[in-house]
């Protein structure tokens, strides 16, 4: 018996992870495949198990939800909202305002298939929306991509830490598979963190008051503000790139994949290594900032072939190509509509990029 291990869905683990890191408020509008998050939180709110969890509201719309999240965040409290693609689109308005007002909040997107209603299957097609800003105006958010249920439980804590450190929205980009997947996990002990909230609205003190506004009517003021947001993100690019590597040291081909695709890629790398095929995996943990330094280092170290595996019609591959700048061949294996490639397909695509794969293709071409 191993009583200290839990067995939870990704969505449930995320909810408990947030509660264990001192979540104060959750506002959301239910949407499959993320609804276990509000369901789990509603139950715990009703039980009152987590005294710091002071507010749970099923909002009337995603707009209401994100703006309630903004209100709570403005007081310096830890606020979270969760949704899936169609709801993520609606939340973009508020995310733009939160980015402009430099509010720390956590937004979870359990990516389903799109555009439009799409279906309930897993996709990674909200990558652009999450990593390039998403709402109007120029800004970037930090985007975290878990690839397992234990990480779904762990990343709310990391997310709030980054959100408060840099005073900005942090997006936790999961996918429908991870949301529904159940795995064993052990909750890490997360010490309660106190963050600097001296900027928050809590009532004026004498002549000192706090105004959180995204309105800068004087043109130079707005210019300075956007420049400030940009330089803040540049600092984040320098300090917060996170990734995981498997068997990249002598790799001829490196697979770049995150989320559920990284799990498939792990299996493919293991299987290929069993056959002495020199393939490795670079798994971005922060999609924004993209782990460009590690990717650069791999290319500088001699990796000439990159295979991007993602559940969209080619989004992260653009960032990989941007880093590679023509120094490495970048191919991609894509699936959409909720379908996943098999690990065999990942294996084959990676092997095709090795020198033996090249030789075989050349021979096949000659035969034909």
């Amino acid at each position: 018996m191993n009583a200290d291990r839990d067995f939870l869905k990704g969505n449930e683990a995320l909810a408990y992870g947030a509660l264990r890191t001192g979540l104060n408020a959750y506002y959301g509008y239910p949407i499959t495949p993320s609804s276990e998050i509000p369901e789990t939180l509603a139950a715990e709110f009703g039980r009152g198990t987590y005294p710091e969890f002071r507010a749970f509201v099923q909002a009337a719309s995603e707009l209401e939800a994100i703006n309630m999240t903004i209100g709570t965040a403005a007081t310096g409290a830890k606020a979270m909202t969760a949704t899936s693609g169609p709801g993520f689109s609606l939340k973009q308005e508020g995310i733009s305002y939160a980015a402009a007002m430099e509010l720390p909040l956590l937004i979870v997107d359990v990516n389903r298939s799109g555009p439009g209603l799409g279906n309930l299957g897993p996709e990674q097609s909200d990558y652009f929306q999450a990593t390039k800003g998403g709402g109007h105006g120029g800004y970037r958010n930090i985007v975290l991509a878990p690839d397992s249920v234990p990480e779904m439980a762990l990343f709310p804590s990391l997310g709030f830490e980054l959100a408060f450190r840099y005073r900005m929205p942090v997006i936790l980009l999961a996918d429908a598979f991870l949301g529904q997947l159940k795995e064993d996990l052990t909750f890490p002990e997360v010490p309660a963190r106190e963050f600097d909230t001296s900027w928050a609205v809590t009532g004026a003190r004498g002549d000192h008051r706090h105004v959180l506004s995204s309105l800068h009517l004087e043109l130079p003021d707005q210019s300075r503000h956007v420049e400030h947001l940009r330089s803040k993100y540049e600092e984040i690019v320098g300090a917060e790139q996170r990734s995981e590597e498997i068997a990249t040291a002598d790799a001829e081909v490196v697979i770049v994949a995150y989320g559920i695709c990284a799990r498939l890629a792990r299996a493919a790398v293991r299987s290929l290594r069993d056959r002495s095929v020199r393939v490795g995996l670079l798994r971005p943990i922060t999609l924004a900032p993209f782990p460009q330094d590690r990717l650069n280092a791999l290319i500088d170290g001699g990796v000439r072939n990159l295979l991007v595996v993602e559940l969209n019609s080619g989004q992260m591959v653009e960032d990989v190509r941007l880093v590679a700048e023509g120094r490495a061949r970048v191919e991609s294996l894509e699936r959409v509509g909720g379908l996943l490639p098999s690990s065999g397909e990942v294996e084959a695509a990676a092997e095709d990029l090795t020198s033996s794969g090249d030789l075989r293709s050349a021979l096949e071409a000659m035969v034909q």
Partner: protein, 266 residues
Amino acid sequence: MIGAQELYETKLGPLPTLTGKPTHYCAGCEHGTLTRLIASALEDLGARERTVLVSSVGCSVLAHEYLNVDAVQAPHGRAPAVMAGIKRVRPDLLVFSIQGDGDAASIGLLELLYAANRGEPITIFLVNNAIYGMTGGQMAPTTPEGMVTTTTPFGRDLHQTGPPLDASKLVASLEGPAYVKRVFLPVTPTPSPEFFNARGALEGARAVRHAFEVQQKGGFAFVEFVSTCSVNWKLSVLESKRYAAKVLAPLFPAGLYRDRFGVEAR
């Protein structure tokens, strides 16, 4: 010799809850009048240091420049949701917004109605001047039939746009709110063409005070101020007050629609 200044004592003076910054409001605009009423009420309640203003979008977008309190900017129409988010985790704070008719009764109607229906303990002041002032005079949900605006250049046609929307009645149709009141805020013409009465401002002052008290008792408070917009109505200041008295007052009659805690009775 005694200076004339020392002979007088102040009955009404400057309010520390006002920043003193000149407003961007047009001459004779009730937005300015309301700002003073709010500052005065907050001082009466000794609440300035526990108050958060949620600035909305519209003419009141810069309200935080004039009111010397903590403030958060809400996206267009979303002020009630932002207020609810503040109040849910900080029930000790006094949270209010000044919304326009476009903000509250059009783009943010859902946020208004749901905050009202849940009875969120917040205070909303709606300035209904029947037109979009900040953006240059487009049709508002509350524009009366026939009014010429930049988007109804031949006058508002109700067959095309539906009738003016009555926000106070809509809010009062819900169970959630504890206090719903509509006040005619402009100065009102009297039989003498040279005199106007200021009853609106005095009633407004009471309503503002009551709306904060209701929030302190845990209720949702909503006060609609029927107002004017002389610049976009293309009338002089005093003509706009006469027009408001003639056209808007019957369309949006002043009245008390809900007073669950009986604050008016005292």
